[in-house]
Protein backbone atom coordinates (compact mmCIF):
# COMPACT_ATOMS: atom_id res chain seq x y z
CA UNK A 1 0.00 0.00 0.00
CA UNK A 2 1.39 3.38 -0.90
CA UNK A 3 2.06 5.90 1.84
CA UNK A 4 0.12 9.02 0.84
CA UNK A 5 2.05 11.13 3.30
CA UNK A 6 5.37 10.38 1.62
CA UNK A 7 4.17 10.08 -1.96
CA UNK A 8 6.03 12.48 -4.28
CA UNK A 9 5.37 13.60 -7.83
CA UNK A 10 8.07 11.27 -9.09
CA UNK A 11 6.74 8.42 -6.94
CA UNK A 12 3.18 8.92 -8.12
CA UNK A 13 4.33 9.16 -11.75
CA UNK A 14 6.03 5.80 -11.40
CA UNK A 15 2.97 4.11 -9.88
CA UNK A 16 0.80 5.49 -12.67
CA UNK A 17 3.26 4.52 -15.41
CA UNK A 18 3.53 0.98 -14.07
CA UNK A 19 -0.28 0.79 -13.88
CA UNK A 20 -0.07 -0.06 -10.16
CA UNK A 21 -2.71 2.55 -9.53
CA UNK A 22 -5.09 4.71 -11.54
CA UNK A 23 -5.42 8.44 -11.12
CA UNK A 24 -9.00 7.88 -9.91
CA UNK A 25 -7.76 5.50 -7.18
CA UNK A 26 -4.97 7.87 -6.22
CA UNK A 27 -7.25 10.91 -6.05
CA UNK A 28 -9.95 9.02 -4.15
CA UNK A 29 -7.35 7.94 -1.59
CA UNK A 30 -6.33 11.56 -1.11
CA UNK A 31 -9.95 12.71 -0.88
CA UNK A 32 -10.51 10.10 1.85
CA UNK A 33 -7.43 11.29 3.70
CA UNK A 34 -8.52 14.92 3.36
CA UNK A 35 -11.94 14.03 4.79
CA UNK A 36 -10.28 12.32 7.76
CA UNK A 37 -7.69 15.04 8.48
CA UNK A 38 -9.32 18.34 7.58
CA UNK A 39 -11.28 18.60 10.84
CA UNK A 40 -7.85 18.77 12.56
CA UNK A 41 -5.75 20.64 10.00
CA UNK A 42 -8.14 22.95 8.09
CA UNK A 43 -5.65 23.50 5.29
CA UNK A 44 -8.21 23.92 2.50
CA UNK A 45 -10.66 26.75 1.90
CA UNK A 46 -12.53 24.88 -0.80
CA UNK A 47 -12.49 21.49 -2.44
CA UNK A 48 -14.67 20.25 -5.28
CA UNK A 49 -14.46 16.46 -5.00
CA UNK A 50 -16.62 16.01 -8.10
CA UNK A 51 -14.21 18.07 -10.18
CA UNK A 52 -11.21 16.18 -8.76
CA UNK A 53 -12.69 12.81 -9.73
CA UNK A 54 -13.77 14.06 -13.16
CA UNK A 55 -10.22 15.28 -13.85
CA UNK A 56 -8.80 11.97 -12.59
CA UNK A 57 -11.09 9.92 -14.84
CA UNK A 58 -10.20 12.02 -17.85
CA UNK A 59 -6.55 11.43 -17.05
CA UNK A 60 -7.10 7.66 -16.80
CA UNK A 61 -8.89 7.69 -20.16
CA UNK A 62 -5.98 9.55 -21.76
CA UNK A 63 -3.46 7.13 -20.28
CA UNK A 64 -5.49 4.09 -21.37
CA UNK A 65 -5.57 5.49 -24.91
CA UNK A 66 -1.79 5.96 -24.84
CA UNK A 67 -2.24 9.71 -24.91
CA UNK A 68 -1.01 10.70 -21.45
CA UNK A 69 0.10 14.34 -21.31
CA UNK A 70 3.42 13.45 -19.74
CA UNK A 71 4.62 11.58 -16.66
CA UNK A 72 2.55 13.65 -14.22
CA UNK A 73 -0.79 13.19 -15.96
CA UNK A 74 -3.22 12.33 -13.16
CA UNK A 75 -1.08 13.49 -10.21
CA UNK A 76 -2.92 15.78 -7.76
CA UNK A 77 -1.67 19.27 -6.89
CA UNK A 78 -3.13 21.77 -4.41
CA UNK A 79 -3.28 25.48 -5.20
CA UNK A 80 -2.97 28.49 -2.90
CA UNK A 81 -6.18 30.51 -2.90
CA UNK A 82 -4.61 33.53 -4.62
CA UNK A 83 -3.94 31.77 -7.95
CA UNK A 84 -6.86 31.70 -10.37
CA UNK A 85 -8.38 28.49 -11.72
CA UNK A 86 -11.20 29.03 -14.20
CA UNK A 87 -14.58 28.21 -12.66
CA UNK A 88 -13.19 27.84 -9.12
CA UNK A 89 -13.43 30.25 -6.17
CA UNK A 90 -10.47 32.55 -5.49
CA UNK A 91 -10.93 34.39 -2.22
CA UNK A 92 -7.34 35.17 -1.15
CA UNK A 93 -8.82 34.26 2.27
CA UNK A 94 -10.59 37.64 2.20
CA UNK A 95 -14.23 38.50 2.74
CA UNK A 96 -13.93 41.00 -0.08
CA UNK A 97 -13.64 38.14 -2.58
CA UNK A 98 -16.21 35.84 -1.01
CA UNK A 99 -18.19 34.21 -3.80
CA UNK A 100 -15.79 35.31 -6.55
CA UNK A 101 -15.38 32.71 -9.32
CA UNK A 102 -12.27 33.05 -11.51
CA UNK A 103 -13.08 33.68 -15.16
CA UNK A 104 -9.70 32.44 -16.41
CA UNK A 105 -6.71 30.25 -15.57
CA UNK A 106 -3.44 31.65 -14.29
CA UNK A 107 -0.57 30.83 -16.63
CA UNK A 108 0.87 28.35 -14.11
CA UNK A 109 -2.53 26.62 -13.97
CA UNK A 110 -2.72 26.41 -17.77
CA UNK A 111 0.71 24.76 -17.64
CA UNK A 112 -0.33 22.26 -14.96
CA UNK A 113 -3.46 21.41 -16.95
CA UNK A 114 -1.34 20.93 -20.08
CA UNK A 115 0.69 18.41 -18.04
CA UNK A 116 -2.54 16.61 -17.04
CA UNK A 117 -2.22 17.33 -13.33
CA UNK A 118 -5.36 17.12 -11.19
CA UNK A 119 -6.17 20.39 -9.39
CA UNK A 120 -7.23 19.34 -5.91
CA UNK A 121 -8.43 21.99 -3.49
CA UNK A 122 -7.58 25.56 -2.69
CA UNK A 123 -5.28 26.23 0.23
CA UNK A 124 -5.81 28.65 3.09
CA UNK A 125 -3.49 31.62 3.48
CA UNK A 126 -3.12 34.93 5.27
CA UNK A 127 -5.53 37.40 3.71
CA UNK A 128 -4.01 38.65 0.43
CA UNK A 129 -0.77 36.85 1.45
CA UNK A 130 -0.12 39.35 4.23
CA UNK A 131 1.04 37.51 7.30
CA UNK A 132 3.28 34.79 8.66
CA UNK A 133 0.87 32.43 10.41
CA UNK A 134 -2.39 32.08 8.43
CA UNK A 135 -4.06 33.75 11.43
CA UNK A 136 -4.99 36.60 9.09
CA UNK A 137 -7.29 34.36 7.05
CA UNK A 138 -10.85 35.69 7.22
CA UNK A 139 -12.18 32.12 7.19
CA UNK A 140 -10.29 29.62 9.30
CA UNK A 141 -7.21 28.77 11.32
CA UNK A 142 -4.94 26.23 9.67
CA UNK A 143 -3.09 24.04 12.16
CA UNK A 144 0.46 22.78 11.95
CA UNK A 145 0.41 19.00 11.31
CA UNK A 146 3.37 18.56 13.69
CA UNK A 147 1.56 20.17 16.59
CA UNK A 148 -1.97 21.46 16.16
CA UNK A 149 -1.44 24.09 18.89
CA UNK A 150 1.02 25.77 16.53
CA UNK A 151 0.58 27.84 13.39
CA UNK A 152 1.64 26.40 10.02
CA UNK A 153 3.37 29.67 9.11
CA UNK A 154 2.32 31.93 6.31
CA UNK A 155 1.25 33.24 4.16
CA UNK A 156 1.24 29.94 2.20
CA UNK A 157 0.39 28.02 5.40
CA UNK A 158 -2.50 26.05 3.92
CA UNK A 159 -0.30 24.79 1.09
CA UNK A 160 2.45 23.83 3.56
CA UNK A 161 0.07 22.08 5.96
CA UNK A 162 -1.64 20.16 3.14
CA UNK A 163 1.70 18.83 1.85
CA UNK A 164 3.04 18.10 5.32
CA UNK A 165 -0.13 16.29 6.44
CA UNK A 166 -0.13 14.22 3.27
CA UNK A 167 -3.42 15.66 2.05
CA UNK A 168 -1.82 16.14 -1.36
CA UNK A 169 1.28 15.29 -3.38
CA UNK A 170 2.54 18.82 -3.95
CA UNK A 171 1.26 22.39 -3.77
CA UNK A 172 1.83 25.82 -5.22
CA UNK A 173 2.37 28.82 -2.98
CA UNK A 174 3.48 32.40 -3.49
CA UNK A 175 6.34 34.25 -1.84
CA UNK A 176 6.63 38.03 -1.42
CA UNK A 177 8.88 38.19 1.66
CA UNK A 178 9.14 34.56 2.77
CA UNK A 179 5.60 33.28 2.30
CA UNK A 180 6.76 29.98 0.75
CA UNK A 181 10.00 29.41 2.66
CA UNK A 182 8.81 30.22 6.20
CA UNK A 183 5.74 27.90 6.22
CA UNK A 184 7.84 25.22 4.49
CA UNK A 185 10.30 25.44 7.37
CA UNK A 186 7.54 25.42 10.00
CA UNK A 187 5.89 22.34 8.46
CA UNK A 188 9.02 20.37 7.54
CA UNK A 189 8.75 20.50 3.76
CA UNK A 190 10.71 21.99 0.84
CA UNK A 191 9.77 25.47 -0.40
CA UNK A 192 11.28 27.27 -3.38
CA UNK A 193 11.09 31.00 -4.12
CA UNK A 194 12.20 31.12 -7.75
CA UNK A 195 14.10 34.05 -9.24
CA UNK A 196 11.86 37.06 -9.75
CA UNK A 197 10.60 36.69 -13.32
CA UNK A 198 11.26 32.96 -13.59
CA UNK A 199 7.56 32.09 -13.26
CA UNK A 200 4.69 34.07 -14.78
CA UNK A 201 2.58 36.01 -12.28
CA UNK A 202 -0.41 36.20 -14.64
CA UNK A 203 -3.40 35.01 -12.59
CA UNK A 204 -1.63 35.48 -9.24
CA UNK A 205 -3.61 38.09 -7.31
CA UNK A 206 -1.04 40.85 -6.84
CA UNK A 207 0.23 41.81 -3.40
CA UNK A 208 3.57 43.53 -4.11
CA UNK A 209 4.23 43.22 -7.83
CA UNK A 210 7.99 43.77 -7.72
CA UNK A 211 8.43 41.00 -5.12
CA UNK A 212 5.76 38.32 -5.70
CA UNK A 213 6.71 34.93 -7.17
CA UNK A 214 4.84 31.62 -7.42
CA UNK A 215 6.77 28.53 -6.39
CA UNK A 216 6.51 24.84 -5.46
CA UNK A 217 5.97 23.48 -1.94
CA UNK A 218 6.96 19.84 -1.97
CA UNK A 219 8.03 16.76 -0.06
CA UNK A 220 11.50 16.68 -1.54
CA UNK A 221 13.94 18.69 -3.63
CA UNK A 222 13.42 16.51 -6.70
CA UNK A 223 9.73 17.46 -6.77
CA UNK A 224 10.64 21.11 -6.36
CA UNK A 225 12.77 20.88 -9.51
CA UNK A 226 10.16 18.85 -11.39
CA UNK A 227 7.49 21.44 -10.59
CA UNK A 228 9.71 24.37 -11.54
CA UNK A 229 10.32 22.66 -14.88
CA UNK A 230 6.55 22.59 -15.41
CA UNK A 231 5.70 26.18 -14.40
CA UNK A 232 8.76 28.23 -15.45
CA UNK A 233 8.97 30.32 -18.59
CA UNK A 234 8.38 33.68 -20.18
CA UNK A 235 4.77 34.68 -20.68
CA UNK A 236 3.51 37.46 -22.92
CA UNK A 237 0.87 38.15 -20.27
CA UNK A 238 3.50 39.03 -17.65
CA UNK A 239 5.93 41.66 -18.90
CA UNK A 240 8.22 40.99 -15.93
CA UNK A 241 8.69 37.32 -16.79
CA UNK A 242 12.19 36.67 -18.06
CA UNK A 243 13.24 35.24 -21.41
CA UNK A 244 15.56 32.82 -19.59
CA UNK A 245 15.75 29.26 -20.79
CA UNK A 246 15.63 26.40 -18.33
CA UNK A 247 18.65 24.08 -18.58
CA UNK A 248 18.70 21.44 -21.30
CA UNK A 249 16.42 18.61 -20.15
CA UNK A 250 15.15 20.67 -17.20
CA UNK A 251 16.34 21.32 -13.66
CA UNK A 252 15.21 17.90 -12.48
CA UNK A 253 17.24 16.00 -15.08
CA UNK A 254 20.45 17.11 -13.38
CA UNK A 255 19.28 15.49 -10.12
CA UNK A 256 18.65 12.02 -11.53
CA UNK A 257 21.32 9.40 -10.79
CA UNK A 258 22.79 12.02 -8.55
CA UNK A 259 26.01 11.54 -6.61
CA UNK A 260 25.71 13.74 -3.52
CA UNK A 261 28.94 15.68 -3.63
CA UNK A 262 29.51 19.38 -3.28
CA UNK A 263 33.21 19.39 -4.12
CA UNK A 264 34.12 22.73 -5.62
CA UNK A 265 31.07 24.53 -4.29
CA UNK A 266 31.66 27.60 -2.16
CA UNK A 267 28.98 28.37 0.40
CA UNK A 268 28.90 31.82 1.97
CA UNK A 269 27.97 32.40 5.61
CA UNK A 270 26.77 35.99 5.98
CA UNK A 271 27.99 37.15 9.37
CA UNK A 272 25.10 39.59 9.81
CA UNK A 273 22.57 36.75 9.68
CA UNK A 274 24.32 34.97 12.50
CA UNK A 275 24.46 38.11 14.63
CA UNK A 276 20.66 38.48 14.71
CA UNK A 277 19.49 38.45 18.30
CA UNK A 278 16.84 36.13 19.65
CA UNK A 279 17.53 33.10 17.47
CA UNK A 280 16.36 30.00 19.35
CA UNK A 281 19.14 27.65 20.61
CA UNK A 282 17.46 24.70 18.87
CA UNK A 283 17.47 26.51 15.53
CA UNK A 284 21.13 27.40 16.06
CA UNK A 285 21.93 23.74 16.70
CA UNK A 286 20.06 22.48 13.62
CA UNK A 287 21.79 25.17 11.54
CA UNK A 288 25.24 24.30 12.88
CA UNK A 289 24.64 20.60 12.23
CA UNK A 290 23.57 21.40 8.67
CA UNK A 291 26.83 23.25 8.08
CA UNK A 292 28.71 20.11 9.17
CA UNK A 293 26.64 17.96 6.81
CA UNK A 294 27.36 20.29 3.90
CA UNK A 295 31.07 20.30 4.79
CA UNK A 296 31.08 16.51 4.82
CA UNK A 297 29.84 16.68 1.21
CA UNK A 298 32.93 18.63 0.23
CA UNK A 299 31.51 22.15 0.23
CA UNK A 300 33.88 24.91 1.22
CA UNK A 301 32.44 27.53 3.61
CA UNK A 302 33.56 31.13 3.30
CA UNK A 303 32.71 34.09 5.49
CA UNK A 304 30.84 36.82 3.67
CA UNK A 305 29.15 40.06 4.58
CA UNK A 306 25.77 41.45 3.56
CA UNK A 307 26.28 44.82 5.23
CA UNK A 308 22.75 46.19 4.79
CA UNK A 309 20.98 43.17 6.28
CA UNK A 310 19.87 45.23 9.26
CA UNK A 311 17.86 47.49 6.96
CA UNK A 312 16.10 44.84 4.89
CA UNK A 313 12.98 44.57 7.06
CA UNK A 314 12.53 48.34 7.17
CA UNK A 315 13.01 48.52 3.40
CA UNK A 316 10.53 45.68 2.86
CA UNK A 317 7.88 47.19 5.15
CA UNK A 318 7.90 50.36 3.08
CA UNK A 319 8.06 48.87 -0.42
CA UNK A 320 5.65 45.95 0.04
CA UNK A 321 2.83 47.99 1.66
CA UNK A 322 3.33 50.79 -0.89
CA UNK A 323 2.85 48.36 -3.76
CA UNK A 324 -0.01 46.63 -1.93
CA UNK A 325 -1.87 49.89 -1.38
CA UNK A 326 -1.76 50.52 -5.14
CA UNK A 327 -2.61 46.93 -6.12
CA UNK A 328 -5.52 46.63 -3.70
CA UNK A 329 -7.08 49.84 -4.99
CA UNK A 330 -8.80 47.57 -7.55
CA UNK A 331 -11.07 46.20 -4.82
CA UNK A 332 -13.58 48.99 -4.96
CA UNK A 333 -16.95 47.23 -4.81
CA UNK A 334 -17.74 48.07 -8.44
CA UNK A 335 -16.87 45.36 -10.96
CA UNK A 336 -16.37 42.34 -8.71
CA UNK A 337 -16.03 41.41 -5.08
CA UNK A 338 -17.96 42.61 -2.07
CA UNK A 339 -20.15 45.73 -2.29
CA UNK A 340 -21.45 47.11 0.98
CA UNK A 341 -25.24 47.18 1.25
CA UNK A 342 -24.83 50.36 3.35
CA UNK A 343 -23.38 52.36 0.48
CA UNK A 344 -25.56 54.93 -1.25
CA UNK A 345 -23.17 56.93 -3.43
CA UNK A 346 -19.90 56.34 -5.20
CA UNK A 347 -17.61 57.41 -2.35
CA UNK A 348 -19.42 55.39 0.29
CA UNK A 349 -19.37 52.41 -2.10
CA UNK A 350 -15.59 52.57 -2.07
CA UNK A 351 -15.17 53.36 1.60
CA UNK A 352 -17.75 51.00 3.06
CA UNK A 353 -17.00 48.09 0.73
CA UNK A 354 -13.29 48.31 1.50
CA UNK A 355 -13.69 49.08 5.19
CA UNK A 356 -16.04 46.13 5.69
CA UNK A 357 -14.40 43.76 3.17
CA UNK A 358 -10.75 43.90 4.24
CA UNK A 359 -9.43 42.42 7.48
CA UNK A 360 -7.25 44.31 10.01
CA UNK A 361 -3.82 43.33 8.63
CA UNK A 362 -4.75 44.24 5.06
CA UNK A 363 -6.10 47.58 6.24
CA UNK A 364 -2.90 48.14 8.22
CA UNK A 365 -0.74 47.54 5.14
CA UNK A 366 -2.91 49.67 2.85
CA UNK A 367 -2.77 52.49 5.39
CA UNK A 368 0.99 52.16 5.79
CA UNK A 369 1.49 52.03 2.02
CA UNK A 370 -0.76 55.01 1.45
CA UNK A 371 1.12 56.93 4.13
CA UNK A 372 4.60 56.29 2.67
CA UNK A 373 3.36 57.25 -0.79
CA UNK A 374 1.47 60.35 0.32
CA UNK A 375 2.50 63.87 -0.55
CA UNK A 376 5.26 65.08 1.73
CA UNK A 377 6.38 61.57 2.74
CA UNK A 378 7.05 59.93 -0.63
CA UNK A 379 10.71 60.96 -0.86
CA UNK A 380 11.46 60.43 2.82
CA UNK A 381 10.09 56.90 2.91
CA UNK A 382 9.34 55.33 -0.46
CA UNK A 383 12.15 56.73 -2.60
CA UNK A 384 14.65 56.27 0.23
CA UNK A 385 13.56 52.63 0.58
CA UNK A 386 14.04 52.11 -3.16
CA UNK A 387 17.57 53.44 -2.83
CA UNK A 388 18.27 51.15 0.10
CA UNK A 389 16.91 48.35 -2.07
CA UNK A 390 19.72 49.17 -4.53
CA UNK A 391 22.24 48.79 -1.69
CA UNK A 392 20.73 45.46 -0.62
CA UNK A 393 20.93 44.16 -4.19
CA UNK A 394 24.54 45.25 -4.40
CA UNK A 395 25.31 43.39 -1.16
CA UNK A 396 24.25 40.16 -2.85
CA UNK A 397 26.05 40.92 -6.13
CA UNK A 398 29.26 41.52 -4.17
CA UNK A 399 28.77 38.43 -2.00
CA UNK A 400 28.27 36.16 -5.00
CA UNK A 401 31.73 37.10 -6.23
CA UNK A 402 33.06 35.13 -3.26
CA UNK A 403 30.64 32.20 -3.15
CA UNK A 404 28.21 30.14 -5.25
CA UNK A 405 25.36 29.99 -2.74
CA UNK A 406 24.60 31.62 0.60
CA UNK A 407 23.54 29.65 3.67
CA UNK A 408 21.24 31.09 6.37
CA UNK A 409 18.54 30.01 8.82
CA UNK A 410 14.96 30.38 7.52
CA UNK A 411 13.34 31.66 10.70
CA UNK A 412 14.61 32.68 14.16
CA UNK A 413 12.46 29.97 15.81
CA UNK A 414 10.27 27.00 14.93
CA UNK A 415 6.48 27.33 14.57
CA UNK A 416 4.91 29.49 17.27
CA UNK A 417 1.58 29.02 19.02
CA UNK A 418 -1.68 30.67 17.97
CA UNK A 419 -1.98 34.19 19.34
CA UNK A 420 1.67 34.26 20.44
CA UNK A 421 2.59 37.13 18.12
CA UNK A 422 -0.31 39.50 18.55
CA UNK A 423 1.77 42.63 18.01
CA UNK A 424 2.12 43.31 14.24
CA UNK A 425 5.75 44.38 14.46
CA UNK A 426 6.69 41.21 16.31
CA UNK A 427 5.01 39.15 13.58
CA UNK A 428 6.84 41.07 10.85
CA UNK A 429 10.23 40.38 12.44
CA UNK A 430 9.71 36.62 12.15
CA UNK A 431 10.56 37.15 8.43
CA UNK A 432 13.95 38.68 9.20
CA UNK A 433 15.93 36.06 7.19
CA UNK A 434 13.65 35.76 4.18
CA UNK A 435 12.78 39.23 2.87
CA UNK A 436 16.16 40.50 1.62
CA UNK A 437 16.33 38.09 -1.26
CA UNK A 438 12.90 39.12 -2.55
CA UNK A 439 14.14 42.70 -2.59
CA UNK A 440 17.23 41.57 -4.51
CA UNK A 441 15.31 39.27 -6.86
CA UNK A 442 17.46 36.22 -6.07
CA UNK A 443 16.15 32.69 -5.73
CA UNK A 444 16.03 30.83 -2.42
CA UNK A 445 15.02 27.46 -1.08
CA UNK A 446 14.03 26.21 2.36
CA UNK A 447 14.88 22.58 3.08
CA UNK A 448 14.01 20.68 6.28
CA UNK A 449 17.19 20.12 8.26
CA UNK A 450 15.97 18.43 11.41
CA UNK A 451 13.91 18.86 14.54
CA UNK A 452 14.61 21.56 17.08
CA UNK A 453 15.60 19.49 20.15
CA UNK A 454 13.74 21.86 22.47
CA UNK A 455 10.44 22.31 20.62
CA UNK A 456 10.45 19.00 18.66
CA UNK A 457 9.27 21.00 15.66
CA UNK A 458 10.90 21.01 12.21
CA UNK A 459 13.47 23.63 11.33
CA UNK A 460 14.70 24.41 7.84
CA UNK A 461 17.80 25.92 6.37
CA UNK A 462 17.80 28.46 3.57
CA UNK A 463 20.07 28.49 0.54
CA UNK A 464 20.20 31.57 -1.67
CA UNK A 465 21.60 31.76 -5.21
CA UNK A 466 21.96 34.58 -7.72
CA UNK A 467 19.21 35.41 -10.16
CA UNK A 468 18.44 32.45 -12.47
CA UNK A 469 20.86 30.07 -10.69
CA UNK A 470 18.20 27.70 -9.33
CA UNK A 471 20.38 24.82 -10.56
CA UNK A 472 22.87 25.61 -7.76
CA UNK A 473 20.10 25.58 -5.17
CA UNK A 474 18.79 22.24 -6.34
CA UNK A 475 22.24 20.66 -6.45
CA UNK A 476 23.17 21.76 -2.93
CA UNK A 477 19.71 21.13 -1.48
CA UNK A 478 19.40 17.67 -3.05
CA UNK A 479 22.85 16.67 -1.82
CA UNK A 480 21.94 17.89 1.65
CA UNK A 481 18.58 16.12 1.62
CA UNK A 482 20.19 12.80 0.71
CA UNK A 483 22.87 13.15 3.40
CA UNK A 484 21.23 14.82 6.41
CA UNK A 485 21.14 12.64 9.54
CA UNK A 486 17.34 12.57 9.75
CA UNK A 487 16.55 10.87 6.47
CA UNK A 488 12.83 11.28 6.74
CA UNK A 489 11.18 14.33 8.25
CA UNK A 490 7.50 13.41 8.17
CA UNK A 491 4.70 14.87 10.27
CA UNK A 492 3.08 12.56 12.85
CA UNK A 493 -0.50 13.00 11.59
Amino acid sequence: MMDLKKLTMSGAAQLLAEKKISSAELCQAYLDRIAALEPKVSALLSLDAGSVMAQAKESDARRAAGKALGPFDGVPVTIKDNITVKGQPCTCASKILQGFVSPYDATVIAKLKAAGMVLMGRANMDEFAMGSSCENSAYQKTRNPWNTDCVPGGSSGGSAAAVSAGETVIALGSDTGGSIRQPASFCGIVGLKPTYGRVSRFGLVAFASSLDQIGPMSKDVMDSALMLDLIAGQDERDTTSLPAAIPEGGFAAALKDFQPSLKGMKIGLPKEYFEVEGVAPGVKKVTADAVETLKSLGAEFVDISLPHTKYSMACYYIIAPAEASANLARFDGIRYGYRSPNANDILSTYQDSRGEGFGPEVIRRIMLGTYVLSSGYYDAYYVRAQKVRTLIRKDFTDAFEKCDVIFTPVTPATAFKFGEKSDPMQMYLSDVFTTALNLAGNCGISIPAGLDPDTHMPSGIQLIAPSLAEDRLFRAARAFELTRPEKEIVSPL
Binding site: F100, V101, P103, Y104, Y196, G197, S210, T240, H308, K310, Y311, A314, C315, I318, S325, D332, I334, R335, Y336, G337, Y338, R339, N344, D345, I346, L347, S348, T349, Q351, D352, R354, G355, E356, P360, I363, R364, I366, M367, L368, T370, Y371, S374, A380, Y381, V383, R384, A385, Q386, K387, V388, R389, T390, L391, R393, M425, Y428, N438, L439, G441, S467
Partner: protein, 103 residues
Protein backbone atom coordinates in the same frame (compact mmCIF):
# COMPACT_ATOMS: atom_id res chain seq x y z
CA UNK B 1 -9.52 61.72 14.86
CA UNK B 2 -6.42 63.43 16.14
CA UNK B 3 -3.05 63.12 14.45
CA UNK B 4 -0.73 60.69 16.22
CA UNK B 5 2.35 61.94 18.04
CA UNK B 6 4.49 61.17 14.96
CA UNK B 7 2.13 63.32 12.96
CA UNK B 8 0.38 60.46 11.18
CA UNK B 9 -3.04 61.86 10.30
CA UNK B 10 -4.94 58.59 10.26
CA UNK B 11 -8.20 60.17 9.09
CA UNK B 12 -6.46 61.82 6.15
CA UNK B 13 -4.67 58.61 5.14
CA UNK B 14 -7.90 56.60 5.46
CA UNK B 15 -9.64 59.12 3.20
CA UNK B 16 -6.85 58.80 0.63
CA UNK B 17 -7.09 55.01 0.80
CA UNK B 18 -10.90 55.06 0.55
CA UNK B 19 -11.30 53.11 3.77
CA UNK B 20 -14.10 53.69 6.29
CA UNK B 21 -12.66 53.03 9.74
CA UNK B 22 -14.52 52.91 13.02
CA UNK B 23 -13.17 55.35 15.64
CA UNK B 24 -11.86 52.37 17.65
CA UNK B 25 -10.07 50.88 14.63
CA UNK B 26 -8.59 54.27 13.74
CA UNK B 27 -7.28 54.80 17.26
CA UNK B 28 -5.69 51.34 17.31
CA UNK B 29 -4.14 51.87 13.87
CA UNK B 30 -2.62 55.18 14.92
CA UNK B 31 -0.56 53.43 17.60
CA UNK B 32 0.38 50.50 15.37
CA UNK B 33 1.40 52.74 12.48
CA UNK B 34 3.51 54.90 14.75
CA UNK B 35 5.26 51.81 15.96
CA UNK B 36 5.95 50.50 12.44
CA UNK B 37 6.94 53.91 11.04
CA UNK B 38 9.21 54.35 14.06
CA UNK B 39 10.92 51.10 13.10
CA UNK B 40 11.33 51.85 9.38
CA UNK B 41 12.80 55.25 10.21
CA UNK B 42 16.12 53.47 10.75
CA UNK B 43 16.64 53.94 7.01
CA UNK B 44 17.38 57.60 7.68
CA UNK B 45 20.72 56.51 9.22
CA UNK B 46 21.99 55.60 5.75
CA UNK B 47 23.60 58.00 3.33
CA UNK B 48 21.82 57.33 0.05
CA UNK B 49 23.06 60.35 -1.89
CA UNK B 50 24.01 59.38 -5.41
CA UNK B 51 22.27 55.99 -5.16
CA UNK B 52 19.75 55.18 -7.90
CA UNK B 53 16.41 53.83 -6.68
CA UNK B 54 15.45 50.24 -7.59
CA UNK B 55 11.83 49.75 -8.64
CA UNK B 56 12.16 46.18 -9.86
CA UNK B 57 14.64 43.45 -9.06
CA UNK B 58 15.16 42.75 -12.73
CA UNK B 59 14.88 45.99 -14.68
CA UNK B 60 13.21 45.56 -18.04
CA UNK B 61 11.76 48.16 -20.35
CA UNK B 62 9.54 48.36 -23.41
CA UNK B 63 8.32 44.77 -23.26
CA UNK B 64 5.86 44.56 -26.11
CA UNK B 65 4.07 41.50 -27.39
CA UNK B 66 3.41 40.85 -31.06
CA UNK B 67 0.43 42.78 -32.38
CA UNK B 68 -1.74 39.80 -33.27
CA UNK B 69 -5.54 40.06 -33.29
CA UNK B 70 -7.21 37.68 -30.89
CA UNK B 71 -10.36 37.18 -28.88
CA UNK B 72 -10.64 38.79 -25.48
CA UNK B 73 -12.47 37.42 -22.47
CA UNK B 74 -16.23 37.12 -23.11
CA UNK B 75 -18.42 39.93 -21.84
CA UNK B 76 -20.79 37.71 -19.83
CA UNK B 77 -17.94 35.86 -18.10
CA UNK B 78 -16.43 39.15 -16.99
CA UNK B 79 -19.78 40.43 -15.74
CA UNK B 80 -20.54 37.22 -13.82
CA UNK B 81 -18.70 38.51 -10.73
CA UNK B 82 -20.23 42.00 -10.72
CA UNK B 83 -22.14 42.82 -7.51
CA UNK B 84 -25.01 44.25 -9.57
CA UNK B 85 -25.72 44.54 -13.29
CA UNK B 86 -28.26 46.12 -15.59
CA UNK B 87 -29.74 43.24 -17.63
CA UNK B 88 -26.40 41.36 -17.48
CA UNK B 89 -25.12 43.97 -19.93
CA UNK B 90 -23.64 46.70 -17.76
CA UNK B 91 -22.19 47.02 -14.27
CA UNK B 92 -24.73 48.79 -12.10
CA UNK B 93 -23.22 51.46 -9.84
CA UNK B 94 -24.63 53.97 -7.38
CA UNK B 95 -25.24 57.48 -8.60
CA UNK B 96 -21.96 59.20 -9.44
CA UNK B 97 -23.07 62.78 -10.25
CA UNK B 98 -25.54 64.82 -8.25
CA UNK B 99 -28.85 65.31 -10.05
CA UNK B 100 -28.64 69.06 -10.55
CA UNK B 101 -25.30 68.48 -12.26
CA UNK B 102 -27.01 66.29 -14.83
CA UNK B 103 -29.05 69.13 -16.38
Amino acid sequence: MAASSKGIDVAHIAALARLRLSPEAAAKLAGEMENIVGYVEMLSELDVSGIEPTAHAVPRSNVIRDDVPGTSFPHDAMLANAPATVDQELVKVPQVLAEEGMA
